[in-house]
Amino acid sequence: MEDYYLKVSKGHTDRRKLKSRLMIILCYVAAAMAILPLLYIFFYTTMQGASSLNIDFFTELPKPVGESGGGMANAILGTLILVALGSVIGIPVGIFAGIYITEYSKSIFANVIKFVTDVLSGIPSIIIGIFAYGLIVIPMKSFSAYAGGFALGVLMIPTITRITEEMLKLVPHSLREAALALGIPRWKTTLRIVLRTAQSGIITGVLLAIARAAGETAPLLFTSFGNSFWSTSLDSPMASIPVQIFNYAISPYDEWHSKAWAGAFVLISLVFIVSLIVRLATRNKFSQTA
């Protein structure tokens, strides 16, 4: 009777151990599976992009089909302008709304704003494009940099609001008290003590939002549209790197494909560098508080 019990129990235990080992191996496999495509995309884009990347890419205008050479200079400038326009909207709204949520709002209203911010961050970017189209392109009767920049700005808001809120929450309450006890007005306390203490975190968050906005394509397709010439006028169509990549990618010409790879490589590098900065900045933050 006892022997029988032991036998069963031993077999059972072995099976459990085997299952445990199997499942853990599967977790390792999953980790590998998730990283593999990243490394593949990363290296493939780098290989393809770096080989077609040259000075011309940054200085020359696009050439028509058939002609070799040329670059994406206008699209690079366009992306810079569009992102700058977006920042003008996204950064102040995001930061001030974040300040309101952490510093001033009590009760349910903070939660309402947080919820709406979540809603905004969940809206597909293509819909923001439609919104900017209806709000700006239709009244102006033309695709324009304004519309594209506005769309990017709206997309930046929730990211910046969220990061500002989280960073301000990390600032100890005692600092606010210390400043107020010195007779410093509340608004100065917020701007010059609280915001300044949290500034490195907020800056990295803003950088992240900018990097994301720089890679957005969908909201630009029918707002800033595209342009194959130099253009700095904000009320006319403007080229951008992502839209240019899209147009080149779906074209049948190899010459254009390699230009698109170069553009993709530029975008990936931007993301990589910003992520690295964010990582380093947040790591310093943790070691400081520890």
Partner: protein, 271 residues
């Protein structure tokens, strides 16, 4: 046979007669503070004399910090806090002043040292002045030296004023916070358990500072350390369960308290 109450009354009469010209800096009447409807202190009536050190003692949760924080509008930050009654500073109701003016005149040093982490030592000291209204550079230098001197920190930091405040030790940081408070030139300074996070040596340095400050300022200190109250203060108030139980000269409180509750506390039978 005289009851205890009559004796105190008599003593009070004697005291008022002998100190007829006494100046009160802070007076409260019926001061009651509640958080989301729950009362933390109830009906506090106290008159704090100018140029003295008054300590507030009592077991944790008795409302001593709550009382202290009501004197410079610190409850304004806490959602759901309600302050009722009257608080007078120099015979004027506190709500007749501008809020920032009250806070400038009533400085506060907190339990844990809280220098501004993004600023150096110099900027920490002048933060209050600069952010209230600008002053000339040379004037600032003087104020920095005076304040740090008074807080007993000048000698230790005079060669490294541009170093981050976070590089100082805990005790030095607390003295920096005192200097920062002194720099805005308050009349009253509230200390909220200023040494509870510090080692004995830093504590004695701060107590020494308190002693010097008495000449110029009115000081109210909350402490859970009865020896400290006995050492540094002229007057002592004993709080229990949100009530002011007894308020008298420190000597009286520690040697012949009027109330049984006070006696139990100061003799260590309780709390």
């Amino acid at each position: 046979m005289e009851t205890a109450e009559e004796i105190t009354k008599e003593a009070a009469v004697i005291e008022t007669v002998s100190e007829e010209k006494v100046k009160y800096t802070v007076e409260t009447e019926g001061l009651t503070v509640s958080f989301k409807g729950r009362e933390a202190i109830n009906d506090i009536n106290i008159k704090i004399r100018a140029n003295t050190v008054t300590s507030i003692i009592g077991p944790s949760g008795c409302g001593k910090s709550t009382f202290l924080r009501s004197l410079n509008f610190m409850h304004d930050l806490t959602p759901g806090a309600k302050v009722k009654g009257t608080i007078k500073i120099h015979n004027k109701n506190i709500d007749e002043y501008d809020m920032t003016e009250v806070r400038r005149r009533v400085g506060m040093v907190f339990q844990k040292p809280n220098p501004f982490p993004t600023m150096n030592i110099y900027d920490n000291v002048v933060a209050g002045i600069i952010m209230n209204k600008g002053k000339k550079r040379n004037e600032l230098n003087e104020i920095v030296e005076q304040s740090l001197e008074l807080a007993g920190l000048w000698e230790e930091v005079k060669d490294r004023l541009k170093v981050s405040a976070m590089a100082l030790s805990g005790g030095q940081q607390q003295r920096l916070c005192i200097a920062r408070t002194l720099a805005v030139n308050p009349e009253i300074i509230l200390f909220d358990e200023p040494t509870s996070a510090l080692d004995p040596i830093s504590t004695s340095k701060i107590e020494e500072t308190l002693f010097h400050l008495k000449n110029k300022y009115t000081i109210v200190i909350v402490t859970h350390n009865m020896q400290q109250a006995a050492r540094v203060s002229d007057y002592t108030a004993y709080f229990f369960l949100g009530k002011l139980i007894e308020y008298a000269r420190t000597r009286t409180i520690f040697t012949s308290p009027r109330e049984k509750l006070t006696e139990d506390y100061v003799t260590g039978r309780f709390g």
